[in-house]
Amino acid sequence: MLSRRRELGAVIAIAVTYSVFAYLNPAFLTWATFGGILTIAAEIGTITIGEGVLMVSGEFDLSVGSNFTFSAIVLGMLLKAAVPAAISVLTVLGMAALIGLLNGLITLRTRIPSFITTLGTLFFWNGMALWVTGGWPISFIAPLPVLNVLGNSTPSPASSLHVSAAWWAAAAIIFWIMLENTRYGNWIYGTGGKTEAARAIGVPVDRVKLINFTLCGLLAGLAGALQLGRMMSISPVRSGLELEAIASAVVGGVSLFGGMGTVLGMVLGTIALASIEVGLVAAGAPSFWYTAFVGCVIIVIVVINTQLDQLIFTRRS
């Protein structure tokens, strides 16, 4: 209903990716490959949903990558300290949400653009991650049950699909309902679409943004927990995932200016970029192409989206 057609760019990207890479290597068109793609997409995709929903409400969070790493590190430390699994996970998710809330409070209280606020917290939490670990990764040799539940389990031993994809799917369903089928979701679109109009009509726009910052932090922390679960290790090195999440959201049709975007688009955008990543490896292309390729894909898809939009606009009016 709401700008659904803007997801078409991501659909085209996926279709083209699959045609090209399946031609280059038939093994690309297998469930094993797709499972691998979903596994990669699960962590970035979880971040993308939080980032995307925040973007729909007209704000950014550049600190999600650092929040992701820091949360995974704290979870690893709590588990190493033999804190019960449920308490560790809930503590870390709460902390991640607070990191998001802090971004929101600084942004909304000081009226600094969130781009700047979260650029600052990006460096801050990255520094904290290096500080608490002394630069060393936190690794588990034997898998703990909680790590299996978060990300390490697979449907069968050789499967490339991990349970982390199920967590991502659950997050996607919850946020899809929230964004498209609740009053709060309507407020998000209103807040990002035209803040002053929404405010004038009685939507508590600052509260909407604050909640979205918090949810964005929460999902970044969840993604960190998923990666710790899947990899059984987390390194404090800067992940750069914030830009991948924003790229996935944009490819999925989320507007950089707010007010537009759907959870389905965010999911498709993430799958599109993960497919390209896996496809280039399957084709035996040098992997640094990925970065360059993604750059081109973003531009092409945004152009497609804009053109489609123009086309519909001129035809209807």
Binding site: N25, A27, F28, T30, A32, T33, G35, G36, T39, I40, L130, T133, G134, G135, W136, P137, S139, F140, I141, N152, P157, A158, S160, Q227, R230, M231, M232, S233, S235, P236, V237, R238, S239, G240, E277, V278, V281, A282, G284, A285, P286, S287, F288, Y290, T291
Partner: protein, 335 residues
Amino acid sequence: MQGKLNRRDLLKATVGATVAASVLSPGQRIAKAFAQSASSGTYYWVAHVGPGDPYWAVVQRGVQAAGKALGVKAVFEGPSGYSPPKQADMVNAAISAKAAGIVTTSADPAVMKGPLQRAAQAGIPTIFSDTPPPKDFAAAFANGNPIAFVGVDVRIAAARASAKLVPLLPKGAEVVVVNHEPGNRVLEIKTGGYLEGIASLEPKVEKLVIGEETTKAVEIIRAYLQKNPNTKAIFTLGALGTHAAVKLLDEMKASNDKIRVVGSDIDDVTLDAIKRGRVVSAIDLQQLGFGFLPIALLYLYNTYALDPNDHIGAGGTVDAKNVDFITKLAKQGFR
């Protein structure tokens, strides 16, 4: 002999061998049989960082040379920035692409465990390269995959390079290790090796994080030296650190014997600095070998069922004695 081959592979091999037996010599027969069991035919060398780094560019050259020499498709892959999780994703992608064999590093062994087990289940042989995995992790891989480790023991190579300093420094000298990539386990091992090499001096050691940008790194080291004027030696953990240290000491017009530098990795700046005496020694990791040898070993494993089970090592030191020859090799892109 072949714990990793499943029954289907053996069946295929047997059928292939029977068919081929009538026309081929015995050696060729076995070769053909195993070639059939290998799938897409592409060998992957997947690093934890991309070929944008001069060090890894040489590894990539080794991979390409092996592919050419053996007549197989061999590719080098790695994430654009240091990222073991992305490396694991790429190994998974290579498994999905039915690789003939996979070489990978153990920058973060825990991350690599799942993908390597999956490779074993898919019947794809793997080799660890670059730096050996820690002992506790090696035990987890005791089931025969990876089939070998081919690389350098950074600890030993670093100790050898830093030992050159022993006659040049006083006892209890203040030294600093500059780290451009905190969080990288290999660099920590390298640091340990350096300190081992000069342990007899009982030095006072500081560690300094300099970041991944040369300009910033120069200023950080400058600030450090101002605060610690008695520093006698700088240990760098990669070309970036060496560049920064050399640049700074040149700018300061410090004499070669005032502050000694021991570096890691070979490139023009490092080699030139060794010639001038600015840098005492540097670890020569001979990474061309890590590119070439594992591909060759995987090929031999697939084609002739050769199972390497010993440490095949590489790694030396470059100093004033061999710097000219190494410079020549570096010019040709072999360092």
